[in-house]
């Protein structure tokens, strides 16, 4: 049978089937008038070869490890090595967090991921007035190199890869990491890890900005440049859609706004004279994985393909490594319910499976109790075990991209790619990401999606098990992890002791030099590394930069 004949036969068969559907509908209407994903993409009753006939396998799908990387970035994917199981953790003091890290490594976790408290993320020391009440709450408090030394005590930095969720003050925390490694006798070229360093999304989705966009972009390109020469194995940025999604975006918006940010970083780096084929291989990404299973799988495939094409077309990238999107994924914090929290284990399992079927390179699985507090050790272990069960027991990791070729998945992948590109073009039309942020464009789009979602939950059009259906009366949860009040006092005490012990003259001199370099426009990294080695605090270093660069405030 020829191709045309096959198509005609399919169309004919579909018409006949439609008659059957119409009869069924007359007797039993479907659950909804129309079915759609979070991004408003139609979920058809069935997808057929007709939905994928425009998709050229060789150009659009291809093979794993090959452009456009739809099926994954490595030729053997999980058959060689599973994704990195990396649980984001940090709370209280550096000592407490160090204990949690050593526990997680002992349980088979393969990488570290540091959560810092809010004062650290915003460049304030624990004794700053705005830090009051926040010290050690959402992550570990780091004031100086002294804390960082404790954080990585007995953890060999040449053996472990470390991801740090740090943005505006990323240069300072990276400098401390370099200094700790040096004390362990590990040279910086041996260091493996990631700093989030993605400030753009802070302005419209996460909120831990310090400086205005322009100097922020300058610090970021300083980091790219410094790491290219000194930390060749370090991922210099983790361009993050995670928080965009948490703020309420749809899956398409998550892809679009993340890639738009990515393009802005690449553009800034290229403008400072960096060669795209030298720095782009160290770019990494970070996505959310939410409940709509099939849309999420397609989202990851679409993001990889779109990024590869954009890098090739817009920046003339030549090396495959400059075009391949490597990403970390975290299950959706906003999908966790405070009601019947054990149900969250099931949600997380499903989300993690979608991330794996989408070809993630590393994964964090949330703990069941995170809608209530920071996770307890028991909850974290179940979350890690969830990944280990998917890896070792489910069999899905034994063949690469197993959902490829599904009419639905391929069609959805193309649809998400096309819709995300529309958004990116729109942002270009507004003058780029920074202009779009100033105009409040992304904020508005995300806000609209978040509100629409909330309304759909309140009308129970979107069922959330245990929240708007299948509810029960349940006792208040017990055994939550609490950060003790004394922690803040102890942190202030150790900061005072450290300040009394350090060489004050060296600190003053290093901060003076930092100011000069910041004013001159030279690369900031070398002086920041020198400053943290004198035990100048995070707040002191950021304080100097605040004075030179100014501070951003929300419009």
């Amino acid at each position: 049978m020829s191709c045309t004949e096959k198509k005609a036969r399919l169309a004919e068969r579909q018409e006949q089937w439609q008659e059957m559907v119409d009869k069924a509908l007359a007797r039993f209407p479907e659950r909804k008038e129309a079915f759609a994903t979070t991004s408003g993409i139609e979920m058809k009753r069935v997808f057929t070869p007709a939905d994928v006939e425009e998709i050229d396998y060789n150009d659009e799908v291809g093979f794993p490890g090959e452009f456009p990387f739809t099926r994954g970035v490595q030729p053997t994917m999980y058959r060689a090595r599973f994704w990195t199981m990396r649980q984001y953790a940090g709370f209280g003091s550096a000592r407490q967090t160090n204990e949690r890290y050593r526990y997680l490594l002992g349980q088979g976790q393969t990488g570290l991921s540091v959560a810092f408290d809010l004062p650290t993320q915003i460049g304030y020391d624990s004794d700053h007035e705005l830090s009051d009440g926040e010290v050690g709450k959402v992550g570990v408090a780091i004031d100086s190199l002294a804390d960082m030394e404790i954080l990585f005590d007995q953890i060999a930095l040449d053996k472990v890869s470390t991801s740090m969720t740090i943005n505006a003050p990323a240069a300072v925390l990276l400098a401390m990491y370099i200094a700790v490694a040096e004390k362990q006798g590990v040279s910086s070229d041996k260091l493996r890890g990631t700093i989030q360093n993605d400030v753009l999304k802070e302005y419209f989705a996460r909120g831990t900005y310090i400086f205005p966009p322009r100097p922020s972009m300058k610090i970021i390109t300083d980091i790219f440049s410094y790491c290219k020469d000194n930390l060749p194995n370090w991922n210099t940025i983790s361009i993050s859609g995670y928080h965009i999604r948490e703020a309420g975006s749809s899956a398409v918006q998550e892809v679009a706004f993340t890639l738009a940010d990515g393009l802005a970083y690449v553009d800034a780096a290229v403008k400072t004279g960096l060669d795209v084929d030298v720095f782009a291989k160290r770019l990494s990404f970070f996505f959310n994985v939410h409940n709509n299973f099939l849309e999420e799988v397609a989202k990851f495939r679409a993001a990889r393909r779109l990024w590869a094409k954009l890098m090739k077309e817009r920046f003339g990238a030549k090396k495959a490594s400059s075009m391949m999107m490597r990403f970390h994924t975290q299950t959706a914090g906003c999908s966790l319910t405070a009601q019947q929290p054990d149900n969250n284990v099931v949600r997380v399992t499903m989300q993690a499976l979608a991330a794996v079927l989408g070809g993630t390179n590393s994964l964090h699985t949330n703990s069941r109790d995170e809608a209530l507090c920071l996770p307890t050790e028991d909850s974290v272990r179940i979350a890690l075990r969830t990944q280990q069960i998917i890896a070792h027991e489910s069999g899905v990791a034994d063949t690469i991209d197993p959902l490829a070729g599904s009419y639905m998945i391929e069609s959805m992948t193309s649809e998400i790619e096309a819709k995300a590109l529309e958004y990116i073009n729109k942002i270009d039309g507004l003058g780029g990401v920074v202009k779009a942020i100033e105009a409040g464009y992304m904020q508005q789009e995300i806000g609209d999606s978040a509100y629409a979602y909330q309304k759909s939950v309140e009308t129970a059009e979107q069922v959330i098990v245990g929240v708007n259906r299948f509810t029960i009366d349940e006792p208040a949860p017990k055994n939550l992890l609490r950060i003790k009040k004394e922690m803040e006092i102890e942190q202030l005490e150790s900061l005072r002791t450290m300040k009394a012990k350090r060489d004050a003259t060296a600190v003053t001199a290093s901060l003076k030099e930092l100011r000069q370099v910041a004013e001159s426009g030279d690369n900031l990294l070398p002086v920041i590394v020198s400053a943290v080695k004198t035990y100048a605090t995070l707040g002191e270093v950021c304080g100097v930069l605040r004075e030179v660069f100014g501070e951003y405030t929300e419009a």
Binding site: Q121, E134, G207, T208, G248, T337, A338, L480
Partner: protein
């Protein structure tokens, strides 16, 4: 005609999670209230200054960072100090149940946890404000 209910929605502390604050603001607005949203990273002093200046009927505080035990009571104490103790204060966020009695004792009239329908908050404000 009834005066429009005026509500200030505020984010005390360093927490940047503003999805809830924004969704609640919008829902209150859709319910016919006049809503001012402060934006993130407000000190208790700034929040109270705005509340007094705008002469609001109610004040909603949102915090997901765990700093609520320190920040919420501080806001209420400052309100009283400025002679605005009649403002109806409520809160929301990631707040463990065991903290709620202490917060209520400190003058926060209600705490709304994740999963609370916005209508519950709307009804609460309508039923509990003392309008001049």
């Amino acid at each position: 005609m009834d005066k429009k209910i005026k509500v200030l929605v505020a984010k005390p502390g360093l927490d940047g999670h503003d999805r809830g604050a924004k969704v609640v603001s919008r829902a209150l607005r859709d319910a016919g209230m006049e809503v001012i949203y402060t934006g993130i990273r407000q000190t208790p002093e700034q929040i109270v200054a705005t509340a007094v200046q705008e002469d609001v009927d109610s004040l909603g505080l949102s915090c997901l960072s765990g700093a609520h035990n320190k920040l919420f009571p501080k806001v209420v104490a400052l309100l009283k100090e400025k002679g605005a103790g009649d403002v109806l204060v409520f809160g929301g966020g990631i707040i463990p149940d065991e903290d709620i009695p202490g917060l209520k004792e400190a003058g926060i009239s209600a705490i709304f946890l994740p999963g609370t329908p916005t209508q519950v908050t709307i009804d609460f404000i309508r039923n509990n404000i003392t309008q001049a």
